[in-house]
């Protein structure tokens, strides 16, 4: 919806052009909407146009009594609202056409319907820029770090608002690959790492902030505090090559994969890999087993909680329409079992990583309604 004042000038311009053709009237005036404007705006514009026409001296009549008929269409093209008045001074006569236009980009106060909010997700940050990852750094002075393709931005919590604190550029000599991915990692000593394809940034958040980036192909940490694992990322692609360190048991090489999640068991830790071949692989240290009939997406993450078996795997998948969903699974045996209800997001899930402390995940979505990137903290909630 736009502020009424946004249309005043345009209404007066059109009214003046109409009256220049019709004279003082009487005229029958009809307003039709052919644009994407909502009903509230259309009604406001209709009232404004009639007032402006009256103010310009036009007298109104009905279609039968008035000799002049004015058909106003609220139209639009890709850049502008275009209002067209077709003025006929006799039935069947050729119309005189007058137009006015107004840019569609400078109409203030436009609002969008708020996306649905789930109780199991907490919106951390929203941006027009592509968010790759975000982490919250708890402490006496809580901070948040957000990773973008060109920079790492730190925010400090003041009251209930995140206020911009410091920005560190992420230089890179080669073009980023498409479907760019990146991950922020918070170490126990409160040092921060940012991993991007071919670039690693290291820094501290303990006292003053510092970040230094350099080019390199160091493997990315993809595990949790309890189950560490590093994997090499393909510098010009969007996946991990499959080279693992220190490896899963005797398995140092896995199929190329997009994401991985540990599955702690009584006998050690197995790993689920969302592989580039579109399948989910279970690596138990010796065997590589393909799990069938799983409709999982490319992004999975493990979360430690107080619910169920204490470890859940979050998996992104498609929902209805333009929605994506995140669903939680447990692995009591060798097959995942869905637990709880799914979370819906109004757009594609662009990334899903385990958050620091392993007790949550951070999902970044590209909101299809607003076009913004949104970082959410996802947690498991359960009855105690």
């Amino acid at each position: 919806m736009a502020w009424a004042g946004d249309w005043d000038v345009t209404e007066q311009q059109l009214a003046a052009k109409i009256v220049a053709v019709t004279g003082a009237g009487p005229a029958a005036v009809e307003v039709t909407n052919r644009s994407s404007l909502g009903q509230t705006d259309v009604e406001a514009i209709r009232r404004g146009l009639l007032e402006s026409l009256s103010g310009a001296g036009l007298k109104f009549g009905n279609t039968d009594s008035a000799s002049v008929n004015v058909q106003i269409s609220l139209s639009e093209n890709v850049r502008e609202y275009v209002w067209v008045a077709e003025i006929r001074k006799a039935a069947g006569a050729a119309a005189t056409v007058v137009l006015v236009s107004k840019s569609r980009t400078n109409v203030g106060g436009m609002t969008h319907e708020a996306p649905p909010i789930s109780l199991r997700k907490l919106l951390l940050w929203s941006s027009d820029s592509h968010i790759l990852d975000a982490i919250v750094i708890n402490g006496a002075l809580p901070r948040m770090a957000v990773l973008y393709p060109a920079q790492i931005q730190f925010y400090r919590l003041q009251g209930d608002r995140w206020m911009e604190e410091q920005v560190f550029p992420v230089p890179h000599s080669r073009p980023w690959p498409r479907d760019l991915r990146g991950r922020l990692v918070l170490r126990k000593d409160r040092s921060v790492e940012a991993h991007l394809p071919g670039v690693i940034c290291l820094g501290s958040t303990a006292n003053s902030l510092s970040i230094n980036c350099h080019e390199g192909d160091d493997p990315w940490p993809i595990g949790t505090d309890q189950s560490p694992l590093n994997a090499s990322f393909a510098q010009t692609r969007n996946f991990f090559t499959g080279a693992l360190s220190p490896g899963i048991g005797t398995q140092n090489v896995a199929p190329a994969f997009y994401s991985a999640a540990p599955v702690p068991t009584d006998h050690g830790t197995s790993w689920l890999l969302a592989a580039v071949d579109g399948r989910i692989h279970l690596l138990d240290g010796t065997n590589d087993v393909v799990l069938s009939k799983l409709n999982w997406g490319s992004d999975i993450a493990a979360v430690h909680s107080s619910c169920g078996t204490r470890w859940q795997i979050f998996s992104a998948a498609s929902g209805t329409g333009q929605e994506d969903v995140v669903r939680a699974y447990e692995m009591p045996g060798r097959e995942p079992i869905a637990v709880g209800s799914s979370l819906s997001f109004p757009g594609a899930i662009a990334s899903l990583w385990t958050a620091p402390d392993d007790n949550a995940a951070v999902a970044v979505t590209h909101n299809a309604e607003t076009g913004k990137y949104e970082a959410y903290l996802l947690t498991m909630a359960c009855s105690q």
Binding site: R34, S73, S75, E76, N77, V78, R79, E80, Y81, V82, V84, E86, A95, V97, V98, L99, V100, S101, R104, T105, P175, W176, P177, R178, D179, L180, T236, R237, N238, F239, Y258, V276, G278, N295, W296, G297, S298, D299, A316, A317, S318, G319, G321, Q322, E323, D324, V325, A348, I349, A350
Partner: protein, 452 residues
């Protein structure tokens, strides 16, 4: 990441394309996208005529322009990252982006840019200095950057072969038959997901359908009059907004008031809404304007309704008249049936029209692709495509463009008939395929699933 498919919904007798999604999977690198089309190209040089949607789409894969126009009609940086104007829009200066390379690894320089623009636009004075390219125009043009987004203003280096800065490089080229493009690993915005694109040209619709059904092609043309049928057969379709103008084009201006009256009678006699309803199953738009309403916002103000009574009256007033020869492309099945309809409508109004395959027809039924830029540039390009001297517009505002279009249409040099959509059939393995409202491909985010 999601991939996108289309399903067709019947709503108010219009076919609407609606997005739906499948698994939330990340894009997969690799594979060859196989495209089959009935269109042919003798050359991939973007400066050569005639302009066509295929030429524009291939140009965008191989070459870049200084600026581009986004889906909202706004100018966005491409090879130029900033620009400014002086002398009230008569002098424009563009600053080039750093680090751009041609497909042979050589750097993009302002000298190369200036040479390319001079060749495409002999009346411009183009000066290069450092990272700057300055263009001096004969007259001021306030929305000039829109012209630089046109494919004929693509920046390329001519030598033994054409070199561009786009995401693909040409690896095989058989004029009128086949083109193979390979992805550039060093593309400035990141390598595309596809490894290559194979394009087969000059394929009849039937052959395209067969290869598509056999899984040998990923993307095919669907003729506008076949779109509903293809949807009914369960094909996955992607369509543009109505972006191709089908128009009757007279070989010369009306030479007398009598001739103008006869042309007016012909225009009044043609039942465009019926053509759209019967021949296109309402999937196009009856057109009385050159540019469609979605581009201008005013197209509906030109009435496309037939008025046989008025047509007969004008025919009677004009007196004796000779038979017009109406030519059309014999390979264009839609043009043939449209021409037959025009003959029937004209006969009802007392006009005599015969079809001919001769090149020396009085009237030609032609199809012209429209490009999303801005109203002034769109209209100007359209005149150029029809071989008509561009009208000098006093201003680029929508009312001036309406006025110019209205004046031109009243001359009855052309009679608009239909605005057609571009429709493509897309195989299930193609992900993220999308087209702009004017039919332009967006291949950079396309990837293939289930087939490498």
């Amino acid at each position: 990441m999601r991939h996108i498919c289309l399903r067709w919904l019947a709503a108010s007798s219009l076919l609407l394309a609606a997005m739906c999604t499948s698994a939330a999977t990340r894009p997969r690198y690799g594979g060859t996208l196989r495209i089959s089309t009935s269109a042919v190209l003798n050359s991939i040089d973007p400066g050569e005529a005639p302009d066509s949607l295929l030429r524009r789409n291939l140009t965008r894969l191989l070459f870049d322009t200084l600026v581009v126009v986004d889906e909202n009609g706004a100018i966005q940086p491409s090879l130029a990252d900033s620009w400014n104007s002086s002398s009230a829009g008569q002098r424009w200066q563009f600053t080039l982006r750093h680090g751009i390379t041609f497909s042979d690894g050589s750097a993009l320089t302002s000298d190369v840019v200036a040479a390319a623009l001079r060749m495409a636009n002999p009346t411009w004075r183009v000066i290069s200095q450092g990272d700057l390219v300055t263009i001096e125009l004969e007259t001021a043009v306030l929305d000039f950057p829109a012209e630089l987004s046109l494919s004929r203003n693509a920046i390329l280096r001519r030598g033994d072969k054409l070199l561009g800065t786009g995401p693909f490089v040409m690896s095989q080229w058989e004029p009128r038959h086949r083109l193979v493009l390979a992805a550039r690993d060093d593309y400035r915005d990141g390598r595309v997901f596809l490894d290559s694109i194979e394009l087969e040209m000059g394929k009849p619709q039937r052959e395209q359908n067969i290869t598509f059904d056999l899984g040998r092609t990923d993307v095919i043309d669907i003729a506008p009059d076949q779109a509903r049928r293809a949807a009914g057969e369960g094909r996955r379709l992607v369509n543009s907004s109505p972006s191709e103008l089908m128009v009757l084009w007279f070989a010369r201006d009306a030479q007398s008031e009598v001739e103008r009256k006869l042309r007016e009678a012909l225009a009044m006699s043609i039942d465009r809404p019926l053509m759209n309803r019967v021949l296109l199953q309402n999937d196009g738009e009856a057109a009385a304007s050159l540019l469609p309403t979605w581009m201008t916002g005013y197209g509906f103000a030109f009435s496309a309704d037939a008025n046989q009574a008025r047509a007969k009256q004008l025919r009677t007033e004009a007196g004796p008249a000779r038979t017009w020869a109406l030519g059309y492309d014999n390979d264009d099945a839609l043009a043939r049936v449209v021409a037959e309809r025009i003959l029937l409508n004209a006969r009802d109004a007392g006009l005599s029209v015969q079809t001919t395959l001769s090149a020396s027809a009085d009237i030609r039924l032609i199809r012209i692709p429209l490009t999303l830029t801005n109203e002034r540039t769109e209209l100007s390009e359209l005149f150029s495509a029809m071989g008509i001297s561009p009208i000098k517009l006093s201003s680029s505002n929508v009312e001036s463009v309406y006025s110019a279009e209205n004046t031109f249409l009243q001359s009855r040099r052309v009679i608009p008939l239909l605005h057609l959509r571009y429709v493509s059939g897309i195989s299930a393995s193609v992900q993220n395929w999308s087209v702009g409202r004017d039919g332009s491909w967006d291949v950079q985010e396309v990837w293939l699933s289930g087939r490498q």
